[in-house]
């Protein structure tokens, strides 16, 4: 659905997007991760035709988006990072306007507005002005306005920024259901657990360049290994410690491993004393993210 190759964009001397290649298929969610100023928003804006690229190609459903942005726009729905809605108009009119722009009229428009409002839990607020909605409701309306045309490509730029837990869960469900319907989704976010929850393909971008990309599990396996943390009543035999590369002392041992369950079973079977504590510390997307960006890696115990 979306293919990007060799994309470049600079603002003066600063490269905002530097030789980016990526692809998103139908039904696929691409989690776009990176620190502030990494180039995520610029990338999304170029795809949406809101910024001009310096070089490279962007193809949406086989159409050259850089040359024919007008042909591509009906195929995409965008929820920009900043809230974008008409505060003095009702939820119905906000949704209806973008429904009309997506090509709906009459009964279809009426139904589409109702369905989009139901999808984000705002069906009972249709006649309220957007200005009186809570922050979370505004965020949901903002996202629903991107969904209403049922576009085959969704560009969601930090859609859960500032959203409460309930709103976040609702929006993630919505994104997952749209992907299940075949929509290609580019999902830019700072919230790494969301990408894990969506089981998205991951692209980590920094200073305009893609630093790492791939399926979540592959990426985690490539960059980080799990660790076995053991608390022992007696010292680990030297041969075993050398074989597993154990670190630490005073009864607390840490072992890096790619097969934590198998190694744990083998260690437990071969240890002379009692094991008073054992935990498997698995790497997370967060630890991969930090390592890729050159920050100290962290792991999350499980």
């Amino acid at each position: 659905m979306l293919e990007i190759a060799g994309l470049q964009k600079s603002y003066g001397p600063a490269m905002a997007v530097d030789s980016v290649d990526l692809a998103v298929g139908r039904g696929q969610i691409l989690g776009l991760l990176g620190p502030n100023g990494a180039g995520k928003t610029t990338l999304v804006c170029i795809v949406a035709g809101l910024r001009k690229a310096d070089a490279g190609t962007v193809t949406v459903a086989g159409i050259d988006a850089l040359r024919y942005p007008g042909r591509v726009r009906p195929l995409l729905g965008i929820a920009p990072q900043e809230l974008g809605l008409y505060p003095t108009l009702s939820v119905r009119v906000n949704l209806g306007f973008f429904g009309e722009l997506a090509g709906y009229r009459g009964q279809h428009l009426y139904r589409s507005v109702l369905q989009a409002a139901e999808a984000v839990g705002l069906a009972d607020r249709l006649d309220d002005r957007a200005a009186v909605l809570s922050g979370g409701q505004k965020r949901r309306l903002h996202t629903a306005m991107a969904l209403i045309g049922h576009p085959p490509l969704l560009l969601l730029d930090e859609p859960t920024a500032g959203a409460d837990v309930e709103t976040r869960a609702q929006l993630l469900d919505l994104v997952a259901s749209r992907a299940a319907d075949g929509t290609a989704v580019v999902y830019s976010t700072h919230y790494l657990p969301e990408v894990e929850q969506l089981r998205a393909e991951v692209v980590i971008i920094d200073r305009g360049r893609i630093r790492a990309s791939g399926p979540l599990d592959t990426l985690v396996a490539r960059y980080q290994s799990s660790r076995l943390e053991l608390t022992l009543s007696a010292p680990m035999p030297t041969a075993m410690a050398e074989r597993f590369g154990a670190e630490g002392g005073d009864g607390r041992v840490s072992i890096a491993t790619t097969q934590p369950e198998a190694d744990a079973a083998e260690i437990l079977a071969g240890l002379p004393g009692t094991v008073t504590g054992l935990s498997i510390v698995r790497p997370s997307l967060e630890s991969v993210y930090l390592e890729v960006l050159g920050r100290p890696a962290a792991t999350v115990p499980q």
Binding site: G84, L85, V93, L101, G103, Q115
Partner: protein, 270 residues
């Protein structure tokens, strides 16, 4: 729940994007009706206070059987109409403030459709503003027409065109709400006064009378007066409307060369 695939396929035939944008612009205007009422109320207040003075001024200029409405109605309509250019500009700037500008640009509405959809309602608003004030002028101040009606109609259409193109020029050259406020309001009152909108031209200082023809408001007041007062030829109406259209085209051309759709105007609304 998601949109049904049937609805996605059969959408009942889309309206042209400029029509959709224009309808939304009307809705936005309606939601801000209070400021429109204010724009109409202000000239009515001053018409009341200035009618007597205007009558004396017209009598001194040789007009008989006049009541002053022949000057205050067209004058105040044009004088306060100059403030509408800020209103036209805010039709665009609001989209930046609300964060909807980029959404709009990413929709199927082309740049031309967005501009047309924004400007047509603004043009209609300016025409309705004139109509309302002239109808109230007839009803409240005894306004009667003894001049060239065609001059009145032509000028009445050309002046809004001029306001609308000045409004889009304001959007093109200003980067913040504050700039638009300052340029729109100070510029509006300056143009309104200089063109003979608030007081008759004969009462202005001589330097002002000399530069007045450089303002669109001068031609608007003159063209409207040509439709009200006797003694004007139809060619006066054509000249006035022609000058106003020329100014509108000039403003529009400069605006077109300066307008940047991708400009974020991020500080606007701050």
């Amino acid at each position: 729940m998601t949109l049904s695939s049937d609805a996605a396929v059969d959408r009942g035939g889309p309206l042209p994007a400029w029509v959709v944008v224009a309808r939304q612009s009307f809705r936005l205007m309606r939601s801000d009706a209070a400021s429109l009422v204010t724009v109409c109320a202000m000239p009515l207040v001053l018409m009341t206070f200035f009618q007597s003075m205007a009558r004396q001024s017209l009598e001194m200029a040789g007009y008989h059987h006049v009541n002053g409405s022949e000057q205050v109605v067209p004058g105040m309509t044009v004088g306060f109409g100059a403030f509408l250019l800020s209103y036209v500009a805010f039709g665009f700037i609001g989209e930046y403030s609300w964060g909807t500008w980029e959404r709009l640009r990413a929709s199927r509405a082309s740049s031309v459709a967005i501009v047309v959809g924004k400007l047509l309602p603004a043009m209609a608003l300016c025409v309705v503003y004139e109509l309302v004030l002239f109808l109230l002028g007839i009803g409240l101040f005894g306004l009667r027409f003894h001049g060239q009606i065609l001059a009145l109609i032509l000028t009445g259409l050309a002046f809004p065109a001029c306001l609308v193109s000045a409004g889009i020029l304001l959007v093109a050259v200003c980067r913040t709400n504050q700039q638009i406020n300052v340029v729109g309001n100070v510029g509006g009152i300056f143009l309104g006064a200089l063109g003979g909108g608030y007081v008759p031209l004969s009462l202005l200082p001589s330097w002002a009378r000399h530069i007045a023809p450089a303002t669109p408001t001068y031609w608007a007041v003159k063209g409207l007066r040509a439709g009200i007062l006797p003694g004007y030829s139809l060619s006066t109406g054509f000249v006035c409307a022609g000058v106003l259209v020329g100014i509108a085209v000039f403003f529009g051309a400069v605006a077109a060369s300066r307008f940047r759709f991708e400009e974020t105007k991020a500080e606007i609304g701050a």
